[in-house]
Amino acid sequence: MAVRSPVESRPGARFIDPRVLARIDRLDLLARTVVEGFVGGLHRSPYRGLSVDFAEHRQYMPGDDIRLIDWRVFGRTDRFYIKQFEADSNSNFSVLLDMSRSMAFGKSGIPKIDYARFLTASLAYFAGKQRDRIGLVTFNDDIVDYIPPSAKHLDLVLHTLDRMEPGGNSALERPLWKVADASRRRGMMLLISDLYEPPRAVLDAVQRLGYRGHDLVVFHVLDRSEIDFEFDEAANYVDMETGEAVPVLPDRLRERYREMVGEHIETLRSELGPRRIDYQLFDTSQPLDHALFAYMSMRHRLTKVR
């Protein structure tokens, strides 16, 4: 089953290529670039109001939605101001980032770990602007770094993202169970991983968090070649985590591989959805804005539910 890229599903969308973002050394600047650019283009977005709590007025700028103009202020001052609302606050937003060795793979674009790093930084920055408390957990088969959610931890999160190096084998169950045990306050948890585990194991690990009342989002990050398997030369394929080598003939394997990856993704999607766990597949060639869309969509849905 072929997996369509979100980029392909949004013709005409102009987003920043992750490979271009990779040229920005500073993670905070990268996050700001992504987020500010994303927010600046939101005037056409259906997800304009993120909160009902008024925060402040801002002078109208060309491109702002005129429905947000405060006509009362206009009546008093004869100037256009728009109302800005306070976002939901006091919400924990934790990113569970898989930093196993397999996340270092990148053939078609940037390495998956970098893509996940950018994604995490952008979302953290964006969440910070939403006044959310930001936390980060990096793990492989155990927890490597744990930054508890806090409104002041953006810099720490960015710093941790900046210095982390992928390594170790991946295993979701153990670190995610630890996170579930450690997170007393409910919040939003975003799992970013390549999910090289049987769907059953993924469900068991993620569902443990759900049992704690967390709102869960799963970002499945894969390289395009992991989906299409566009390799040509027969060679020994070495597992990046276990070091196991297997002679592989790509021509003979490609179709079967695609089928199995497709089945794996569909299984995850179909199994996680009914459990109110959002699942989103990303390949590393996809602009980060899509992740923000997905995040905002989830936030909007959760807001409505609340």
């Binding site: 030369e233 027969a234 394929y237 990046m240 592989v248 990856v261």
Partner: protein, 652 residues
Amino acid sequence: MGLAFLVPAFLAGALALGLPIWVHLRNRPKTDTVEFPSLMFIERIPYRAVQRQQLRHRLLFAARSLALVLLVLAFARPFFGDALPTAAAGGAREVVVVLDRSWSMSYAGHWQAALAAVRAELGALRGGDRVSLIVFDEQAEVLVESQPPSVLADGLLNGLRPSDLATSYAAGLRAAARVIADGTLLASEIVLVSDFQRSGQPEDIEIRLPASAVLRPVSVVGGPVTNVGVADLALDHVIGTEGPGLRVTVRLTGQGGAEERSVPVVLLVDGEEVQRRAATLPGEGAARLAFDPILSEQEVRLEVRLAEDALVGDDIFHAVASPGAALSVALLDNPGAGTSDSLYLERALGVGTRPAFLVDRQVLRDLRAVDLAGHDLVVLNDAGALDAGSATALNEYVRAGGGLLVGLAEMADEGVSDLLPFAVAGVVDRGGALGATLGFVDTAHPVFEAYRSPEAGDLAGARFYRYRALDPDPQEGVLARFDDGATALMHFPVGEGRVMVWTSSLDTFWTDLPLQPIFVPFVHEVAKFAASYREADPWQAATTDRGPGFHQVEGPEGPTSLAVNLDRREADLTALDPEELLASVAWSSGADVSGQEPADVSPARVEAGQSAWWYLVVAALLLLLGESALANRLSPHASWGGDESELPPRAP
């Protein structure tokens, strides 16, 4: 009947059989590695090294291997043992002794040395060897062919003598090549015993020998050679004060002398010495010597002799001299004529020797038959009036077979007309213009045949200011006419003889013809025709197998003598380097003279024994066709060697 290969080196191509096997066994899984995040989905499909190391399509492999073997065998050119001569046991040789017996071998000591060399070669033969003996001069004669040495008796050699013919190495060596080709032994050797004259090796004759043969020259020349001989003899008819005669001139050649020397030369006529001269001859070169004329009206036998030296054959030269043809011409002048009237005519007739014209100039007065006897031709050059007796004598002379040439000019009158069937009319004066020219010449007639080609002479260049007209103008026998149609030259028969009439003068009074280059041959041809002169017929058969000397043969006019001399090329003893002769020999295949390879027998015979490669090639092609069909059937599987059932189970 054994199997052998003409080009066994091609058998090395069979090593190519091991190449696919070697590649097959050397084919190992590639060691390139690709890091992949997880092998969870990757089926474990190894290279199936075990399967690939086994021959999967044994029939296909066997077909290909067999085709390759057949091609290798075809290129190696197999032949069967009876296609070529079989080797005798013990490395026996076919020794062909080629002995030069040309007459130059009669040089003092050379023939004895040659026989000694042949005996030495025979003595060196081993048991099992076979010997052939060929003697040659201009032709070769196989005296003994491929016989055991014991067959060659010494008496055979003692009975051999040098011949009278010249040397031709090609004749001897070609005969040797034939003997070797017909032989049955692998090793062959040609022993050429000769004095190695350079004259025996013409440059344009190719000598081809079997590549397997060894040519070994044996020279019988022990040291420097010296020789003096008569190379040539020339005879010239001369008219001396005492009448016609023969002048003998000889050319002498000297070789090997250190300095100039005086050589006595003797001339013998019919076996008797008539003259003796001494010629001065350089050490290395030639000289000419002329004898005094010999007066003879009969056929004579001439011999020129030198003192005998080491090579006797060229010390004597034979010749036969016949008196030759000479025409006696009676030139009759008018009594009142000056000496210059017939000057041009007399001088023209005095030139040449074939035939020689013996001019007897007389004054026309009371001519009698006795005055004309013995002459072949009578010329009346503007002779004037003829008395009756003279006219009668001339008439009888012509009727008896004599020739008469009449030149009509100023003095011609009726007396002459009595001899002619027409009247001599008046003088035609053409001096007012540029003069007359000859307008018609019968170039088909022997008199003017020489002028047929444009470059032979321009008869029209002569100018005629006056000439006599004839009445009536003759229509037959006219050979030339002037440009106005008047007769210039004509003839008619009288009895056994012939009369020719020239209507202008034969001096420069009426014409400038005597000043033209064509005058001398014109006079000669007219005189010869008028005198009914005929060249002697050439001998139809002048060859003889008898030696030098004089021989009586039957000619068309009865028995006559012939002189036979030895070929003078053979007298040139200039030596040829035997290595040069070896270098000029073309070998039938390759240049290997080691004698270790099989003898090169007739090409058809060899080729017939090597035709097996054709069958091998055809079989290989058929096999390859079958292999192609088989490979096409197996190709979908043979290309990779696996099927779906061999894949590992799908990953969970």
